[in-house]
């Protein structure tokens, strides 16, 4: 019998790739976790083997959406939860696009995939059906070709209503930072979800559905929708994102000296103007797109026009760009050409590589080559800052290279530094940094945040609000921010709308208008429990903040607040660790599997 689907009561789809079995569970006991990142983390905690290898067959891959997905503007995100092959601890990555909406109307709040298929498959999910289908013919193909094939195969789900997520050759090859492409232009970028799918021989997931949910109180809901919609389209809260987009950060950050350039040998880029959001906006921006349910539309598409042969032989493509990409595949690699940056982004897209970690790995290799630290014959290409073609070749080698150097590079910059030396690997706790050399806040954020991601606690923003602050002063604000973000990501609002969904009164009203009652105290406790569970999982997976290696480069290149002091940062990290001890001591473990940690 088909179960009813009600908002606020998690309905979980479990798929075992080893046996091919499918199970749907309604889990009122998990309603307390609301949805999104908290729900996904809880499901991961139930199913993961914390000490087994990240790519072991039994390991789960969890997807989660929010209780208000598609119901309110800019609630567009879904998250993936897994053990990260890159850091060896908590893997969590968020994506927009249409996936969250597609899962909502298919009737699922979360998806848990376990096991490993014997042959390449893809998972097709609708409101009436769940099927594993053969993916053998397109195993090996790019994310773009795979997307095209699945669009043609899965017409029943309806163009515009369905979502297609897939890996490229990087995920198949087990590159530790392979990403998953979501529809066109969005990604589960960080921490190697692509390698997890690859290890399961799961090439893609296609979802869509035609469910309709009755509105319990139409008037109340419409009033609340109208209020949020007006804030989203009219207020300055979202303006930056639909004008120049996140790329508008590039010029100011370079002027401040916080734009990592040439593997952070410098904090400002002399060609920043050429690769700025303004320059892209003026010359190459051809259109903007939105994630489903977002009237803002921050996805900026640039025109890549490329001569592929002598004479007048050209092709063109639309490539999405954002600040982090212009940093990782732009300034960090000394790239001065807008078109060439778009070409590098496109290469990473097709292979299914996380652009941020890839940029950092390429920058490390370039500097290591300059310094003679790596075997030239294994490298096989003349990597140099500002040179596009060798970088394109290197991305291909990251996926297909067979030498020890490329095998090591597939594991990230920390692995490269461990094998070849060079204390200039731009990573903390194994995850490569974002494009903000702003001060202690960003380093603390990357070192100690649950995902080691800049969006855990926005240390880069804290640095800019409190220039020159002592690092120990930043610990509590960072933890408070991370806890608060666990609530925003429970709704699975886009973090760009954190000013809208940071308003507790509005959040309570939005939930209540859809029949989900929560108090402020409950939402606060949700944030705190989620943060606690994430850190408990990390420790169970073996992560220790104590003794974390801090690459010397972070202290060599001045930030806007001057050169950073290693001893001060280490002291702040110790303080952070004590705060996490206190957090973990507050409550007993949520699941038996975590009790020994």
């Amino acid at each position: 019998m088909r179960q009813s689907v009600e908002l606020g009561v998690p309905r979980i789809l479990k798929v075992d790739l080893s046996s091919g079995s499918v199970e749907v569970q309604k889990r009122p006991d998990l309603a307390i976790w609301l949805g999104g990142s908290p729900l996904g983390t809880r499901l991961l905690a139930e199913t993961v083997d914390p000490t087994a290898d990240a790519l072991a067959p039994q390991q789960p891959l969890v997807l989660a959406i929010g209780p208000l997905t598609a119901a309110f503007p800019v609630i567009t995100k879904s998250s993936a939860h897994f053990k990260s092959p890159l850091t060896g601890n908590l893997g969590e990555t968020h994506a927009g696009g249409r996936l969250a909406t597609a899962l909502r109307f298919a009737g699922y709040d979360a998806l848990v995939v376990v096991g490993t298929s014997t042959r390449p498959v893809y998972l097709s999910i609708s409101s009436r059906d769940v099927r594993l289908k053969d993916a053998t013919p397109f195993w090996g193909l790019s994310t773009e070709e795979t997307g095209r094939i699945l669009r043609e195969n899965e017409v029943r789900l309806g163009a515009g209503k369905r979502s297609i997520i897939r890996i490229g050759p990087a995920g198949e090859a087990g590159v530790s930072y392979a990403c998953v492409n979501v529809d066109s232009y969005r990604h589960f970028g960080r921490l190697g979800m692509g390698a997890v799918m690859g290890s399961k021989r799961l090439k893609a997931i296609v979802a869509g559905g035609d469910l309709s949910f009755p509105l319990a109180d139409q008037k109340r809901y419409m009033r609340c929708y109208e209020k949020i919609y007006q804030i989203a389209v009219q207020s300055s809260a979202m303006q930056k994102y639909h004008e120049l987009g996140t790329a508008q950060n590039l010029l100011p950050l370079s002027a401040l000296g916080a734009l990592p350039t040439r593997n952070l040998q410098s904090g400002s880029f002399e060609a920043a103007e050429k690769i700025s959001g303004e320059a892209f906006g003026k010359d190459l921006l051809i259109r903007k797109y939105a994630c489903f349910g977002c009237p803002v539309g921050c996805i900026h598409i640039g025109l890549l026009r490329e001569q592929f042969a002598a004479g007048h032989e050209y092709r063109y493509a639309g490539v999405s760009y954002d600040y982090e990409l212009l940093y990782a595949l732009g300034s960090l690699l000394g790239m001065e050409s807008r078109s060439q940056i778009l070409a590098l982004i496109e290469t990473a897209e097709k292979l299914g590589l996380d652009a941020m970690t890839t940029g950092v790995v390429l920058a490390w290799l370039t500097e290591a080559r300059e310094k003679g630290l790596i075997p030239e014959d294994q490298l096989g290409m003349p990597l140099a800052f500002g040179e596009m073609q060798p970088y394109q070749g290197a991305m291909s080698a990251l996926v297909r290279g067979t030498s020890e150097l490329w095998e090591t590079a597939r594991k990230g910059s920390a692995a490269l530094a461990a094998r070849y030396g060079g204390d200039f690997d731009l990573q903390l706790a194994g995850n490569e940094i974002s494009g903000y050399h702003t001060g202690y806040g960003t380093l603390l954020n990357h070192a100690a945040g649950a995902r080691h991601s800049h969006l855990d606690s926005a240390g880069y923003s804290l640095d800019q609000q409190h220039p020159g602050a002592e690092p120990a002063e930043l610990v509590d604000p960072l933890l408070a921010e991370e806890q608060e973000r666990c609530v925003v990501t429970a709704l699975h609002a886009c973090l760009f709308a954190r000013k809208i969904y940071g308003d507790r009164e509005l959040v309570r009203e939005a939930l209540a208008s859809m029949g989900i009652e929560r108090t402020d105290a409950q939402l606060d406790e949700l944030g705190r429990s989620t943060l606690r569970l994430k850190h408990r999982l990390k420790r169970a997976m073996g992560f220790k903040l104590e003794g974390l290696r801090l690459p010397e480069r972070f202290f060599q290149t001045p930030t806007p607040a001057g050169k950073l002091d290693r001893a001060k940062l280490e002291e702040a990290i110790r303080l952070y660790d004590r705060r996490l001890d206190d957090l973990l001591a507050e409550a007993p473990p949520e699941t038996p599997a975590l009790s020994s940690h």
Binding site: F105, A159, K161, S212, L215, K288, G293, P295, G297, M514
Partner: protein, 139 residues
């Protein structure tokens, strides 16, 4: 004077879907993509412009002409009016429309029909959709 919905600037559409959600919640008291008389779809990924399927407001609507139960009748000024209690659920209206402007909803038991109220246009952040006076509208 009757008004008709027009999607004349779809090349500026960002694909946010706000129009569909507005139609469903306003006219069908639902959180739904299915219960929207306008449907936005992609023409193969995001590589090209988005497409709106909606009722173009025919003067002599074929959907009404194939409706044997007379649930659909021509609307003065273009399009159709639905008397849902008369609908027998055959779905021929949806089959007959060559521009996918009307579709049958199994759960409701009658078709989702555009009434050209313009609530979708009100929630279009880019002004791709408009409600136009019938006599000013070219078809």
């Amino acid at each position: 004077m009757a008004k008709l919905l027009r999607a004349n600037r779809m090349e500026e559409c960002i694909g946010c879907g706000s129009c569909m959600l507005a139609c469903a919640r306003t006219r069908y008291q639902s959180l739904s993509l299915n219960r929207s008389a306008i449907r936005i779809r992609t023409a193969g990924g995001f590589r090209s412009s988005l497409i709106a399927d909606y009722c173009l407001g025919c003067d002599e609507p074929v959907c009404a002409s194939v409706c044997s139960a007379a649930a659909l009748t021509p609307r003065p000024g273009g399009g159709v009016v639905l008397k849902k209690e008369r609908c027998i659920g055959c779905g021929r209206c949806a089959e007959a429309c060559t521009v996918h402007g009307i579709h049958y909803d199994e759960e409701l038991g009658y078709p989702v029909v555009c009434v050209h109220c313009g609530v979708c246009a009100r929630y279009c952040p880019h002004g791709c959709l408009t409600l136009e006076d019938t006599d000013a509208t070219e078809r």
